[in-house]
Symmetry: C2
Subunit: 352 residues, 2 copies
C-alpha cells in the first residue's frame, strides 16, 4: 500500500528543459516579447509541470468537495448547516454557479461528499467518501483524528486517480461547506502566525456580531489545539475540515501526476497551504485563480508565494474562480502552441 | 443619408427596468448575495444595454482595424511600419494571438484595412476600407482631414452594421498599427490634460531614446495641432489614426444598436475616449477588458470612469485582452440566466 511519504516523494521539480523550450518559443511568436504578460508565464509553468514544451488543456476537472463543520454551533456562519446538503443537491441537478461556469469551459464537475452532516441520498454523480457526518467543534477540540485526516486525504487521492483515468489535463479545486471559512482561517493563522483578526473575514456574510464570534472561535481553536506549524497533518487534523482534507489529497495526487492545479479562493487556498507544508514541491504546480474578497486571503497567497490571475471581487467558493481561471490557462497554452512564429508568418522582428 | 448626429442620437440610456429585474434575480440565485462580485455587476449592465433581463452572449465579434502612422518617421516604435501589413496577413492566415484567442471563445475575427501604408492583396476575409495609405505625421501637422476622419468613422459603422446582420451579441475592439500607441497617447493628452510624460509608455518596446523621442512627438503633436478637447472629431482628425477612427465608428454603431462593447487596451481605450466625447451615453455600454501595462492607460480608464476586468500584464493589442474578457462577460450572463433560484433548488436562504 502507498504511504503519504511515497505519494509525496512522487512530486518532482518542474522540468527545466521543457520550460526553456517553451520560453524560447514564446520569444519567437509573432508578438513583441513578453507582451502576453502572465499568459506567457503560465504557459511556461505548465510546460514545466507537464514536461511538454507545447502543452494542451483539453480535459478539465473541478472537484467540489463538501463537508460540515462542528464549529457552526459557535454562530460563525450566516447560513444554517442544512444548506450544505441542499447545495450538494443543487450541484447534482446542475443549478449552481459552478455548474454553469463549468459548462462554459467544458469542465467535468466531480461532486464528493467528504463529510456532510446529513445522510445524502445516493446519486450516480455523487461520490460518497464520507469520513464522518461533520467535524468536531474546533473551538473546543480537534476537528478530526489523525486517522480520519489521512482517510480524507486518501479519499481525495482516489477521486483524482479515477478522474486521471478518464482524462485530466488540469484540476480546479472547489468546496462546499457551511462554516468552512472558519477552519480555513484557523489553518491560515496556524501556518502563517498572523492573528485571527488579520485573517478572519465575513465568509458568506456574517454581521458584526457573527464576525466577532468567528474571530474568537478561530483564535480559540489555535489556543486550545496547539497545532504544530511545522506539521501539516497536525494542523489539518486539529483545525481542518473533511472537504479541506479531501482537497489536500486531490492536490497531492494531481501534482504527483504532473498536472497543473488551479486553486480557487479562501478554502482551497487553505488546503493548498496544508499540501505545501506536507510537500513543498507542490507550490510549483499551483496556479492561484483569483483574489477572494475574504479578508486574509492575500496573506495566505503571499505565504504560498502566489499571485492570483483574476480579481473579480468574488467570494463564492465551489471552485467558481478556479473554473473561470481555467480559461486563462487554456488561453496561455493555446497561444504558445498555435501562434505562428516570426519566420512562419514572414513578419519582421524587432530591430535590435 | 444618416449624419453623425443622427447616429449619436440613437445611443440611448440603459434600460432601468431590465436592470432592476436582473438585479432582483441575482439576489434570488443560489449563492450569497453579491458573492459573484463583478460578474453580477456586468450581468446587470448587459441587461440594461440589451433591454433583456436575462441576456445571452452567443455571437461574438472582434474587429481588428489596421492602419499606419506618419509619426513613425520620428522613431517612436521598436518595429518598422512593414510589420503592419505583415501582421494583417498573419491575421488572415489565423496565426496571430488574436486568432488563437478568438477561436477559443468562438468569436469571429473581422480584419479591416483602414489605412495600411502598403497596398494589400485582396483577400476574402480582408475588408478594404482604406482611407489613405497612412496618416500624416502628427508631430508636424494633422493626422488627417475632418472629411477623412468622418469617412473612417462611417467605415467602422458599416463594418459593424454588416456584422450585426450576421449576428452580434458583443463587440470586442482590436487594432494593429505600428506606431499607434503614439497617436493614442496624443489623444489621451489632449482629452485628459495630463502631460505627455505621464501618458506615454514604451509601446511594443522602444528603448530609452525611443521613449524620449516618442514623448517629444506626443507633446509636439498637441502643441502644433491645438486640438479642441471639447470637440472629439477635432481631436481625432488632428491626432488620431485611421484604425482609431474606424474603432470610434464601430463603437458608435454597436452602442446605437444596444450591444455591449468590450474595450481592449491602450489604442482601443483612446478610441473609446473619442467616442465618449462625441456621445457621452456610449460610456454605459463599455466594458474595459484589461489594464494594459502601458503607462497612462490607468489615467485613460479613470477619465472614462471604467474599472478593467483583467490585469494580466498584457500589452499586445489586436483585441487580445478584449477577447479574453468576453469569457468573463459570457460567464456573467450565463450565471444570471442559468443558475437556479433558492426556491427552485429548495435551498434555505440566509437567516436575516
Amino acid at each position: 500500500m502507498m504511504t503519504l511519504e511515497n505519494l509525496i516523494s512522487n512530486i518532482k521539480p518542474l522540468d527545466q528543459s521543457a520550460m526553456e523550450i517553451a520560453s524560447a518559443r514564446q520569444d519567437d511568436l509573432t508578438k513583441p516579447r513578453g507582451s502576453l504578460g502572465k499568459l506567457e508565464q503560465i504557459s511556461i509553468q505548465v510546460a514545466g509541470i507537464t514536461m511538454n514544451p507545447r502543452p494542451r488543456i483539453e480535459y478539465k476537472v473541478v472537484t467540489v468537495m463538501a463537508g460540515d463543520h462542528g464549529v457552526v454551533v459557535e454562530g460563525v456562519s450566516a447560513y444554517p448547516s442544512e444548506v450544505t446538503p441542499q447545495m450538494v443537491s443543487n450541484f447534482l441537478r446542475g443549478g449552481a454557479a459552478i455548474n454553469v461556469l463549468a459548462r462554459q469551459v467544458g469542465a467535468r464537475v466531480v461532486t464528493v461528499d467528504m463529510g456532510v452532516a446529513l445522510e445524502m441520498m445516493p446519486h450516480p454523480n455523487l461520490i460518497d467518501k464520507k469520513v464522518a457526518p461533520g467535524t468536531g467543534n474546533i473551538a473546543k477540540g480537534p476537528a478530526m483524528s489523525k486517522k480520519q485526516a489521512l482517510q480524507a486525504i486518501w479519499a481525495g487521492v482516489e477521486v483524482v486517480d479515477t478522474e486521471l483515468e478518464k482524462g485530466l489535463d488540469i484540476l480546479a479545486t472547489g468546496d462546499m461547506g457551511i462554516g468552512n471559512t472558519t477552519p480555513s482561517a484557523a489553518i491560515a493563522v496556524a501556518l502563517t502566525g498572523y492573528s485571527a483578526t488579520e485573517i478572519v473575514g465575513r465568509g458568506t456574510g456574517v454581521d458584526d456580531d457573527g464576525l466577532h464570534r468567528k474571530t474568537n472561535a478561530v483564535a480559540q481553536s489555535v489556543e486550545i489545539n496547539l497545532p504544530d506549524p511545522n506539521d501539516g497533518l497536525d494542523v489539518l487534523s486539529k483545525l481542518g475540515g473533511f472537504e479541506i482534507a479531501g482537497l489536500v489529497g486531490a492536490i497531492l495526487a494531481a501534482t504527483a501526476n504532473r498536472k497543473p492545479v488551479v486553486i480557487d479562493g479562501y478554502i482551497s487556498t487553505a488546503a493548498a497551504m496544508v499540501a505545501v507544508s506536507l510537500a513543498p514541491q507542490v507550490r510549483n504546480y499551483l496556479i492561484s485563480a483569483h483574489r477572494s474578497l475574504e479578508l486574509g486571503h492575500q496573506i495566505m497567497l503571499e505565504w504560498l508565494g502566489l499571485e492570483p490571475l483574476l480579481d473579480l471581487q468574488m467570494r463564492l467558493g465551489e471552485g467558481t474562480g478556479a473554473v473561470l481561471a481555467i480559461s486563462i490557462v487554456e488561453a496561455a497554452c493555446r497561444t504558445l502552441d498555435e501562434m505562428a512564429t516570426f519566420r512562419e508568418a514572414g513578419v519582421s522582428d524587432k530591430e535590435d
